[in-house]
Symmetry: C2
Subunit: 221 residues, 2 copies
């Protein structure tokens, strides 16, 4: 029984990491479809969405099966519940990548707006947050997870900067309002990707330190 | 043991519904702080955020306790996992209400922008989606949950309409760019509230029909 459980749990973690790598690639390709005005790349992101959605369902099923077959200790339960939530966050990161790719396609219909301000840097930070949050998960590394939480401020800072620059730009030239607004939507999507990476990092901390920070009590019920 | 489990599960559901009512109230107050330029109401939303966050942690703890104490059948497991995910969605709806209240405070610093276009109607639909998704949960009502999914198109339609109107408005008068942009952010927040209600409705359908629509298989592992 013990071995069986370890095997199921390892398979579950492997599938989640595979999900993470699909979501990472979708974000990377989505962002580059905007930055490089690459419509083919945008379409690839849209084509690959189904694989992420199917994997989400598979992982949810594995979680149910695992909990149905084994009676887990609180530590393992927290791990499995964290996997279930992270699975959700990864699927929604995939959705954001799709939104970015759709923006890329719409942006291509307009003349190119001036340099993309801080968007490349903002996307680098968001992608790094994703990568680090998944690495923190693999290594159960609370310190790295905390670094991810700290990086979210950088993402929000870039978002504010990008908003300000693009709005000022829109005020000066009303013909760029629509394409500049698409870039604002892309910045919003990157902000959400940062939020999801933050959720993943929080789940890692909860998973590792659960009892310490949350004080579950029996007498509460 | 059986009774004990029923009691724990009922308590869990009650707490989740209480969480739902707090989130609903936060959204309602947040939206009205914008529509009625009511700074006091906005501050109330900000003050009440902590209660929602604490309740989220309490519910997560209850989920862990319940799974640690009882070996559940797949049907009950799906219910408990759905509760865990819905708990997350409700907390994030609370975050969106806070964002809306913060926008309200910032909007008050500018002269009032022309009538708030379709924002009141968009917020009514988003609030109805929240209410219906929670009612669908209580009644295990798949039909009502499906109605929620259909309403998400309305929310997206209003969002597009509001974006178009406000962007056109910004093109005509550059002095309204900043306050009009705040209203765009509010519309984005309402869109996300609709998305979370959609997630809740999907969880209700998964919970009730799980096996039928998702085909969990043992031989997959």
């Amino acid at each position: 029984m013990e071995r069986h459980f370890e095997r199921d749990l390892n398979e579950l973690k492997e599938r989640l990491l595979w999900m993470g790598s699909l979501a990472e690639r979708a974000v990377h390709q989505g962002v580059h479809s905007v930055l490089d005005s690459d419509e083919q790349l945008a379409k690839r992101v849209l084509d690959e969405e189904d694989a992420i959605n199917e994997l989400q369902i598979e992982i949810d099923d594995r979680v149910v099966q695992l909990l149905a077959l084994h009676q887990l200790m609180a530590t393992d339960l927290r791990l499995v519940l964290a996997v279930s939530r992270i699975n959700n966050d990864l699927e929604r990161i995939g959705d954001q990548a799709v939104n970015i790719a759709q923006s890329a396609v719409r942006i291509l219909r307009h003349p190119r707006v001036k340099p993309y301000v801080d968007l490349p840097r903002m996307s680098e930070v968001a992608e790094e947050m994703m990568r680090d949050s998944l690495n923190a998960l693999v290594r159960r590394d609370v310190e790295l997870a905390q670094k991810v939480l700290a990086m979210d401020d950088q993402v929000d800072h870039y978002r504010d900067q990008i908003f300000r620059e693009l709005l000022t730009y829109m005020m000066g030239d009303s013909s760029v309002v629509f394409p500049a607004f698409e870039l604002i939507l892309v910045a919003k999507n990157l902000e959400r990707i940062g939020d999801h990476a933050t959720n993943i990092a929080e789940d890692v901390i909860y998973m590792v330190q659960g009892q310490d920070v949350r004080h579950p009590t029996v007498d509460r019920r």
